[in-house]
Symmetry: D3
Subunit: 294 residues, 6 copies
């Protein structure tokens, strides 16, 4: 978990997750040529105090992004986080206290809350799904179905919620799908080519839709198998087969599984190592979070 | 509605909605240092055909963004849209046919679909909410609760779905809230300051939580009033009062209204001009759209 | 008016007017690969004191931009403004004292002064034009005829000088011109389309060249009318007509009015609300300002 | 002189003068989130024809920038220049014909004209000043007193008008001023340091305010001398002294000379090689140029 | 191997290796404010033909970067590659024929050749080292000791030369070094943490300096071991031990091995899977390549 | 020589040599989406101490770039340089002590060392070549054969090593080559055009391959002559001729001279002013520098 302290620093440092340029672009798209209402009505020297409050229960994620948004408008803002990202809070909980220029706080409020609401929504959904399979071998993981431009933040929210990350992009893992296999002329051929081409620290995963494909991929020395859109029965058979013949091979269930708890429990019961869920990032509803001024 | 034709052009032109830099950043975050699987298994000269297919019914939005994603990897890709953004389609409908370099299509597929799925989700929700109040005076509008970095696209999806846009940012409309009023020393004072400061083509809207505030804002010559978190009865009284005393003043209902149809109908029945819904952009579930290769 | 204090902050904060990237680009175009003369002749550790002095009388604008230029080369420079932007000074007045690395001051001097000279030129001309119509209803406003890349700063200088801003760009106001009317099929049709398309907090202004057009636009419920290139007599009649039939409609005089005082007085006497002057930003002569070292 | 033909190309190529990023930023600051009026009233498929017309006589500069502005909105626009940059035209002359998407033309019109008006203003003033000293040895040159962000374009306009460029920035020429001399411990010392530090293809110029300084600089082997704020008599003596003792040394007159023809003639008559004029770029009034649709 | 054909496309497409922005920055740093010599002496309309010629024997890499450099100055340049990247050529060989604007060719020549010379130097050294261990199990791989800003290109040159790539950065592979082990509290603990934190498609490699460490890492289930700075005898023992106890574990030799052929042969003879060589990218001498005009 | 002190500042200031954006891009290409190993194994709050140590003797260059790399990850890092750039050190020397966040140090280590190793390699080679000709009139200078993207740093390393810089790019010096001469219609014509076109503070150098060309260039008033690929005897004759007829003309030897000491001595003995060596920047082997933690 990130410490509270680095919040103060994120703006000026190189940070692949809490990227100041990303927050700056978000501020720019909201502020445009200036916050006319605030500039007209709030004296430049006014100072304000506020509390960031969760209006719904959930797992919080994104406080460093919110802090960064405020700090980019007021470099000496005081942002005091009362909880850390990853904490579960009840409705009404105060997440942070903030004190700074009144104009800066009012102008950056919406951007800060837009980050917080979305990321907390993802963390909350991730936490619920992870809890559903707690006690099993299965780990809930995300996918590449993220919001364009926000992948690092959304994958961070998934981790903060207690689920795990699948590959971050097309370059840090090999996932061979049917089109790759067809073009390469077979599973074995595709795996050989991947091994010859890619850096040797990347494992090779192959997507399989049938038991037959599971077997072929295993023979071709796949290091992980993605069971795509299989029914529970087939999935269970696939897992058994893989465990028996190649115990070190990782098994992932995927394909429109959704976030329904019963479905997750059933999938986990097949013995897979990973359950990947696009919905974690593409359909998590927002958590309602607001800024209340003293 | 945008024509199909400009799809071919968006990449090289200046377009505040379909911004090539935004799509390029989305590609970059997915591709990173290269699509290792595709480069290893697909010959560089291979060509592929595919169809973009909706797996769920909905209103489609984002085809130009998808086309742009493909075209940034293959400048001579053929992208033939069969429908235009804004069309309602049933599950299984083909949205576009595409032909181009096999590597390019596979590598940009996820980015293209991530845009399409999110924007179509928003357009679909916007269409449903707009339909709920059809026949009334009320227009459903969005808010500034958009995904950081995607505001222009999300507001476009709202329009495409048949709802309308509230102000695009803090600079193209004046919305005076309680904090502005308190700092300025009263509603009248806040409105005067806003009028003195802002370009004269911007109208002044004031947020009101009670009938008393509604009256004060009217006296101060507000040009629009936002009724915030009022119950239906109060809202109806507020509308009556405003229509009687200042028929040209615009009235907006806001505050946790949600996308429930009955609630929307009830709010619209009060006679307001606008119903603003944050959920349109912050909590619309994704529409499942896929790319199927021939 | 901006406080002196934020000068110290502008570099690291998000500011749509005093944008650090803009000042950085200005420094880069002057410095290129390095200030060879200064690096060769001034020791790296030398410290210098200087005064920014107006060599001509005028209204000063741009001190925060100058401070930013110096601070981007020497982050611990001391920049003490003796006046604030908007002050009228006589020739010879000291505007600010500055102390910092001698190399930094010499290298950024020209960039700082280029901002100050241009913006003070605009503020001075704006002040003169505003004074010409003081006591009348008319407000002098600027146009979109600004220097490419400097619009926010130049519109700031106009405000600082005591005149006001027209719309900031094509997106924060609706101004329907003859080509728009022709393409839409008439004034009424154009206004209806604009109202249907644009966010509802934007007013609709229509350009009129004759009294007939003034009447038609009024009937179509324009919220502001721009009287383009009318002679004084016609303008007076247009104003009378509008005041009589729609007292809340704003009236703007425009079109090659120029900055001649007598002309401004005559136009103001017609009773218009606004007089827009492209010359404020496109033809204001520089104010001569220099940096004098102790 | 630039050919008409490259106008078609400038957008996609690397060009240090007609930089597409600069024009794109200019478009962005005007268009913001979109040209609401045009999008609402002009059909997307409408095509328009127009002529760029000079409303005042002058020397034209900036047609490639205007073409680039139009082309960035409509990549297949037809822009046919009837004259080339550098041509003198009378009021009413058509500079170019243009045909393209009606929306694109209307939306980019102001940006294109803002470039043309400013650059033609500079070229016209440069041409007048150059004509004033025609037949003498003196060449009129510009200074670094240019508009922040537009230096390359403004120096191009100076050339196009028939005057010449002084150094482009702090890195392509050595100009030693009094502060440099003081810090280095004398003229000779400053020149030695400059020669030791800078690339050997850069000449060394020294600023002199008195005849005594002229002599010292000559002894120290300056390759060019800038006579700063000297009266005509002193300047003439300085030139004589330099011609006699070091005929290859270049002599420049500078310092508040202004653009008055008689003053220019008098300065040129002293025999200097160069007369540098800040006013060429910082105070040239705009040339009024418009776009007229057919 | 990349096809010759994509050379024509790289400029306008998204390409993580041949990144147009990188080439544009390289052009910008060479051209600055313009190629004064060429603009002064070469007519704008002149066309030229040239041949890119290797003055030394070697393996060529970087033709697409060279083509891109030329094309960014002349979008219709004809660049005809006679060989593809990866070809070995003798001194005097013609690599490509080129025809385009004479100014464009002269101005981009140095940038194009700087890419070609460096990348061909790396490819040539990689080819020599790969040849040295041909016939053994060992694969020569690069490191992260690349030129800042050029990693993707330099790793491409390594592949083109016939060697392979180690991880591309800190994010696509796990390499646990002594500092990581110390901070985590032991090898086993470090590996467990890495497995819990990182995406599951990344393998875990551990750096070992002694046989004892080799054994501990193996027990902790490392998936690859880096033998750092071991003598040949120790290395051979380490390999034997690993092959016996965990045949699927990858073994890499590293640490100041250098590019001496005899040393490479000796290291390969120990049976390692990989030999990593920083010198491939940080110390490869340039290959002399020139552009000769017809 | 740069002071140690500015190291602390370079990150936030505008610096054409130690450009923070360049270092940020270098960090980004190494770190990608995050340093997985370090994040997994090193506690966020851990602090570390280390020493930067030269493993080989050499002239050090690049400490400010290294400091900047560390500081961009940890803004409060303590970086204490024990020597300044330009110092010659023996193998084993400590260059700097560093204390900061353990994660930050480990993550930025490679980027910092990649800058240091390359720049010190160049400085060391430059120092050796400069020493070879010490006591003669000849100054060793670099060329434009630099690594794309690193020119300012590499030319800085050349200076730090004790050699000098030729022109920085195509815009700060005029070097007329055979193609320019052919296109212009002769040496005299080319020089006249260059003088008419370029800012007057740039000297004109002409490339000559024969004594005949040397004479022609002299007659045409070239201010510097580059003797290209001449044998020692011809070079000596060229120098004699030039000294006799135009003592102020600068003479440069160039063309595959290489860094062999005897060759350098022989070339210097001909009496040339400058010896330009591409190898200084394109083929200098790295200096091995490491970071050792306490």
């Amino acid at each position: 978990m990130r410490r509270a302290e680095p919040i103060e620093r994120t703006g000026t440092t190189f940070d692949p997750v809490f990227d100041a340029d990303l927050v700056r672009r978000a501020l720019a798209e909201d502020i445009g040529r200036g916050d006319i209402t605030t500039e007209a009505t709030i004296p430049a020297e006014a100072v304000a105090n506020g509390r960031i409050v969760a209006r719904e229960a959930g797992v919080i994620a994104g406080l460093p992004a919110a802090a960064l948004a405020f700090r980019l408008l007021d470099p000496v803002v005081r942002f005091e986080a009362l909880i850390a990202d990853g904490a579960y809070v009840e409705a009404g909980a105060t997440l942070a206290r903030i004190e700074g220029g009144a104009r800066a706080l009012l102008t950056s409020e919406r951007t800060a809350l837009n980050f917080l609401g979305r990321l907390s929504g993802i963390a909350t959904l991730a936490a619920r799904c992870a809890a559903a399979v707690a006690g099993t071998r299965a780990v809930v993981v995300d996918t590449r179905k993220t919001t364009p431009g926000l992948r690092a933040l959304e994958k961070y929210a998934v981790r903060v919620g207690g689920a795990a990350n699948h590959r971050a992009g097309l370059d840090d893992g090999i996932l061979i799908k049917d089109n790759h296999i067809a073009a390469a002329g077979g599973v074995r051929e595709a795996i050989l080519r991947a091994r010859a081409h890619a850096p040797h620290l990347l494992k090779i995963e192959v997507e399989c839709e049938t038991l037959a494909e599971v077997r072929v991929a295993l023979e071709a020395r796949a290091e992980a198998e993605l069971l795509d859109n299989m029914d529970i029965e087939t999935m269970r058979n696939a897992v058994s087969y893989i465990r028996e013949h190649a115990p070190s091979v990782l098994v992932e269930a995927s394909g429109s599984i959704g976030t329904n708890t019963e479905k997750l429990v059933a999938v986990a019961a097949t013995g897979v190592d990973f359950i990947s869920l696009g919905a974690l990032t593409h359909s998590a509803p927002n958590i309602d979070i607001s800024l209340e001024f003293a």
